[in-house]
Structures are given as C-alpha cells and as structure tokens.
C-alpha cells in the first residue's frame, strides 16, 4: 500500500473529560468521558441524536462545551497553532462552496496552516480526484464529496484523524478504499476516530468502540469483546435499546435480542 503521509508524528490521544452540552432542556452530551488511543481505529457508535456529532464538534472547538473539556494531544483544540497538522477532520462532506473548484477549496484551507500546493496535489491524488481537481465541487456526487472531505482531513498529514460518517454515499470500491486507508493510518500509529451507522462496516474497520446513547457513555470496549457472542449489530441493539430517541414498531430483530 502506498504511503499516505510524509512523516510520522508524535502519537496523540483524544481525551474527552466530563463533557456536557445542553440545547435548552435537551442534554445533547451528558458528562461524557473517554479516551481515543493512537495506533488503532476507534469506532464511535450511537443512535441518531446520541451526541456523536456534537462531541466531535466540541473536540474541534466548533461548539463550546457547557462543562468539561476535550483535549487533543493534551491540549485544547483552540490552543493549537496549526491544527490541521495535528487533527484532520471530516464532519460534513457537503460543506464546500458549490462554485469553487476542489483544488481551490483545499488550497484555501492549506494556506491557513502553511501547507503548500504540492501537498494539495498529493492529497487530491491520494483520494483519486486529481482528474477533477479543477471542476466545481457543486457538481460532485456524494461519493466524490466524501473523497474531497477525506483529502481535506489528510492535508496536514495529521496525527489524529476524525471522520463523521465517511463512507456515506461511497460505492463499494470507495468503501473498501476508506477501510484500507483507515487501517493503514492506524497502522502508522495515528489516532483514528470514526463514526458510522454501518455495523458490518464498523466491524471490519474498528479495533475499539465507544458507544453512546442520549449523550452518555454506554460502552468503551475492544471490538472483539463486543462481538464475542455474536454480530456487532446484535450487540449494538442490545446496548442501545434503551436510548433510541425515535423507536419504531415492528422490529422483531431487536425484540429478539433485547
């Protein structure tokens, strides 16, 4: 497999300590604590509304916690001088100006952190978008947007990679490629933290799992432990049965394992 980064950096953890955030009366994240370690892929699981995206936004300093803190490599995100070199994130693949080219989208971000044009071309080649680098990002398919998002995350060759639903909209080849990339990045000693609702995909990609429900920690376990007695999907439903915000009726599979 090709090398994805230029140089290896110090290993960095993500530490979430007693993090809380409420929107009105709704506690999106409720006294949540966990640590994401380097050298492995950590999956972030939980039903819709469990607080996964809010937690990721707080780690990135986009959302201010009501209490507690989130540290990357021991420091708060807003204390990082050139954060793209430390943390590469993909939160929302659709967040591109529709009339700006993929190349200029990446270049504008790169320039804020002293990253050169060569690296922009490198990450475009890495995700297979070099041929469409000059096309407007608004015309991209969901899969191409995800690739652009992953290129954005890799710009600074970061020690920590954090991806929210990175395989949404990718074709089977793309899904396989992301899985290989994440495994490879973890193998290089990076910290890889990813959320996904695709249980089978998570089972194939992650080494460790953080499971949340209603903003609280439900599990912080090795994937082998979680799947010891069956599929990850079954174990997940058993764990989150009490914390689904929008329960549906007529789900025989779930009642069978509950």
């Amino acid at each position: 497999m090709q090398a994805y980064g230029r140089k290896l950096r110090a290993m960095e953890t993500i530490e979430v300590r007693h993090l809380s955030k409420a929107y009105g009366h709704h506690k999106a994240v409720d006294d949540l604590s966990f640590t994401v370690h380097p050298g492995r892929v950590t999956g972030f699981l939980g039903p819709n509304g469990a607080g996964k995206s809010t937690t990721m936004r707080m780690i990135l300093g986009l959302t201010r916690p009501d209490s507690g803190d989130a540290l990357v490599g021991g420091r708060r995100y807003d204390q990082l001088a050139q954060p793209l070199h430390e943390v590469g994130a993909l939160l929302d693949a659709g967040a591109v100006h529709p009339r700006r080219s993929a190349y200029h989208h990446l270049l504008a971000l790169a320039q804020t952190n002293g990253i050169g044009k060569r690296r922009v071309h490198e990450v475009l080649a890495m995700v297979g978008l070099e041929g469409v680098a000059d096309r407007r990002a608004g015309g991209f398919s969901l899969g191409m947007s995800q690739r652009l998002g992953i290129a954005t995350a890799m710009l600074g060759d970061p020690a920590v990679v954090m991806l929210d639903e990175p395989v949404n909209g990718l074709d089977p080849e793309g899904i396989r490629w992301v899985r290989g990339l994440l495994r490879h990045l973890a193998g290089e000693g990076r910290t890889v933290f990813l959320s996904s609702h695709l249980m089978s995909e998570m089972q194939m990609t992650a080494d460790h799992l953080i499971v949340v429900g209603r903003g609280q920690l439900l599990a912080d376990v090795a994937i082998a432990e979680m799947t010891a007695s069956g599929s990850l999907e079954d174990a997940y439903f058993a764990l989150t049965a009490e914390s689904v915000d929008y329960p549906t009726t007529a789900t025989p599979d779930r009642s069978a394992v509950a």
Binding site: R57, L80, P83, T112, G114
Partner: protein, 247 residues
C-alpha cells in the same frame, strides 16, 4: 498573513468576484464618462462640468456593488457551511475575520482607486479635446482617493455586519439601513436635533472625504477618523461574537 492569503484564494477562485468587478468597472467607468460623452455630442456646457469630470458619478451604484460583494464574501461561508472548515483550520477565529476584511476591503479600495482615477484621466482628456477644462477646485485628488477609501470602508462594514447576522439579506439590510436609513431617522428627530448627528453618520462622514470647497461636513481627516471608528467598532464586535458563538 496566512489567513489573508487564504481569503484572497477564496475570493479569486469564485467567478462571482469577476462579476462584481465587471459590474463595478461598467458602472464606474460608464457613469464616469457621461460628461465626456456629452461633451463629444455637444450636449454639455463648460459650466456643467464638475471638478472630477464626472468620475464620481457612479458612486452610489458602486456602493451597492461593493455592499453585495462584501456581505456575500462572508455569508457564502455560512450558506455553503464552509465556515466550519474555515474555523477548524483557524480556531482562534479572529484571523479569519481580519483576513477577509483585508482581502475584501483591500481589493475594493484598489479597484475603486484605479477606476476613479482612470475615468477621471480619460474624461479630462476627452473634455480637453473639446476645449473644456475642468473647473479648478482644491483637493480633487484627495477627494477621489477619499471616494476609494469610502468604498473600502463600506466593504469592511459589510463584512462586519455579515459576520454579525450571518445572512445575506440581513447583512445587506443592516449595511444599507445604516447608510441610507439612519440619515432619514436623524432628520425626523424633533427640533433639529438630528442635524449635528447627521455629520457623524457614515454616509456623511464619507462625503466629508470627498468634499471640494466649503461645506457643512466634517473636515476630511475627521471624516476619515469617524469611518475608522465605525469600522473598528463593528469589526471588533463581530470578532467578539464570532469567538463566543458556536459555529
């Protein structure tokens, strides 16, 4: 500095920047040459020629172009949700605001300066060739540079309001409300209370930069100081709000 480069990349990589610039060129040069064209057609008398040769005739048009350009430079980040990426790359946040202000304000000022002096020189040459000289007035170059400064100031104010309200419609309403609405409000105040205030409003402070000859306006330097004050307050407030608000 690095965020300035980045903001400049953002501006030049959008075709809308070209359209705004094109509109400004067409509007400023087009209206700036009206006196020259009228002179060529023999439709103007020397008494009707102004000291700028008409170079500032397109100013109100330019205000709208500049306002739209400046507000959109900020609000398109919210509309496209790229703001999160921008603030993730620069978590201190204020450098993004400063970089955008300098990139937008600087490009507006530079373009305005070139357009105003360009149409002035063309207009003067054409009028000369018809035997009409521009009426002499003090401080014509200062007034024309002042017009460019005023448009640059509008750009700064536009980005500031846009950061505060995060919507294109709201940003434009705030900017033009302050420019055109406040003078009307001040005139409605009883007992002429508004008259002293009027001179300190942004549009009149801008007019102070462009005055030639005696007027009720502030002195040009005082007008510049007032505009600087408005820009500093609005951008400072925007920086505080941007820092505190969840993105």
């Amino acid at each position: 500095m690095s965020t300035l480069t980045s903001e400049w990349t953002k501006l030049r990589s959008l075709r809308s920047t070209t359209w705004f610039l094109g509109a400004a060129v067409a509007g400023m040069i087009g209206s700036g040459l009206i006196e020259a064209i009228a002179a060529s057609a023999g439709e103007i008398t020397p008494a009707e020629v102004d000291p700028f040769g008409g170079a500032l005739a397109g100013l109100s048009f330019a205000e709208f172009v500049v306002g739209g350009f400046a507000v959109l430079a900020v609000t398109n980040e919210y509309a496209s949700r790229t703001i999160r990426g921008s603030l993730t790359a620069v978590p201190k946040r204020w450098p993004v605001l400063a970089g955008k202000a300098v990139a937008v304000g600087g490009s507006v000022f530079t373009a305005a300066l070139l357009l105003i002096f360009g149409s002035f020189l063309i207009s003067r040459a054409v009028l000369d060739s018809h035997g009409m000289s521009l009426p002499a007035a003090d401080g014509v170059p200062r007034a024309m540079a002042g017009a460019a400064v005023y448009l640059g100031f509008l750009a700064l104010l536009g980005t500031g309001f846009a950061w505060l309200v995060r919507s294109t419609a709201g940003g434009l309403a705030a900017l033009f409300g302050v420019l055109y609405g406040l003078p009307i409000v001040s005139l409605l105040l009883p007992h002429g209370m508004g008259a002293p205030i009027l001179r300190f409003l942004p549009q009149q402070a801008g007019a102070a930069l462009m005055q030639v000859g005696p007027s009720d306006l502030l002195a040009p330097w005082a007008g510049a100081a007032v505009l600087t004050g408005y820009a500093a307050v609005v951008l400072g407030l925007a920086a505080v709000v941007l820092r505190r608000r969840d993105a």
